[in-house]
């Protein structure tokens, strides 16, 4: 497993560079928006990756509530953290695209607002994990994650339920996309998914190590209450 990480790291780096080349050079220029449309190759894959990570967080949280396994709790924490990073990318790149295309940075459209609410829910989840020292924190966080996950389909389908300014979805939305653009989009999604997986893996190892160290500190405090504990 230790050898797999650097190999996957190099492969992911190559894939990300290739995806960047495809997005900036190979993909055709859109007729009305021009080069600004290429923001879509980072914005949409980041959104899909964030949704998948929030789904992983949901599954891990349900598993934790049922089986109380620490590994499920770690997976839930890690996927929420990395999901928030990708959701932040979505919330930042969206307005950068909207300014030249819509003429405004932000509008309180249902898709945009629900994405912001989703981000706030998972930031609250991370704040709860970070600042609560109660033994019940993983359980409370898991319950919050289950409720937060309900927001994900709402964000995704808000385009169908409400009249919004946001463009229709690439797949399943009834619109059409140039096959070359779809190809570049899927390559970028694959690259960002591999990147997210590697980041989650390293963050999982870090969290597990942190818990082992905390456990060792607790043991040291028990053995030598005056000197060795934190």
């Amino acid at each position: 497993m230790k050898k797999a990480f650097p190999i996957l790291g190099v492969l992911t780096a190559v894939l990300l560079i290739y995806a960047l080349y495809m997005a900036l050079v190979w993909a055709p220029t859109e007729k009305t928006m021009g080069n600004v449309q290429r923001i879509f190759y980072y914005h949409v894959p980041s959104a899909w990756t964030a949704f998948i990570l929030f789904f992983v967080n949901f599954v891990a949280s349900v598993l934790y509530l049922i089986k109380r396994k620490p590994a499920a709790d770690i997976v839930a924490l890690v996927s929420a953290e990395v999901g928030v990073v990708f959701c932040t990318v979505v919330l930042v790149t969206g307005p950068i695209w909207a300014r030249p295309v819509w003429g405004i940075w932000w509008t309180w459209d249902m898709r945009l607002t629900s994405t912001l609410v989703l981000w706030l829910i998972y930031v609250s989840y991370l704040f709860l994990r970070r600042f609560s020292s109660s033994g019940q924190t993983p359980t409370l966080a898991a319950a919050l994650a289950v409720l937060g996950a309900l927001c994900v389909p709402f964000v995704y389908f808000s385009i169908w339920f409400f009249r919004t300014q946001h463009p229709q979805p690439v797949m399943g939305g009834g619109g059409s996309i140039d096959p070359r653009m779809l190809h570049v989009l899927l390559i970028n999604w694959l690259a960002f998914s591999c990147f997210a997986f590697l980041v989650c893996w390293s963050r999982y190892r870090l969290e597990k190590l942190q818990r082992d160290v905390d456990h060792a500190h607790a043991l040291a405090s028990l053995l030598d209450p005056r000197g060795s504990g934190r």
Partner: protein
């Protein structure tokens, strides 16, 4: 700002966010390594 400027800004900010997050992981890992070294010092039982 031109269309290319917005495109550059979006791509740059994406990587700034990811690199900043990776930086926090590296910093936390370094702090943890120091804690492990402290625990390994003689006289600290674990």
């Amino acid at each position: 700002m031109s269309g290319n400027g917005y495109l550059f800004a979006a791509y740059a900010v994406t990587w700034i966010i990811h690199i900043a997050y990776l930086g926090t992981i590296v910093r936390r890992y370094s702090r943890l390594q120091r804690e492990i070294e402290e625990l390994k010092k003689p006289g600290v039982k674990s």
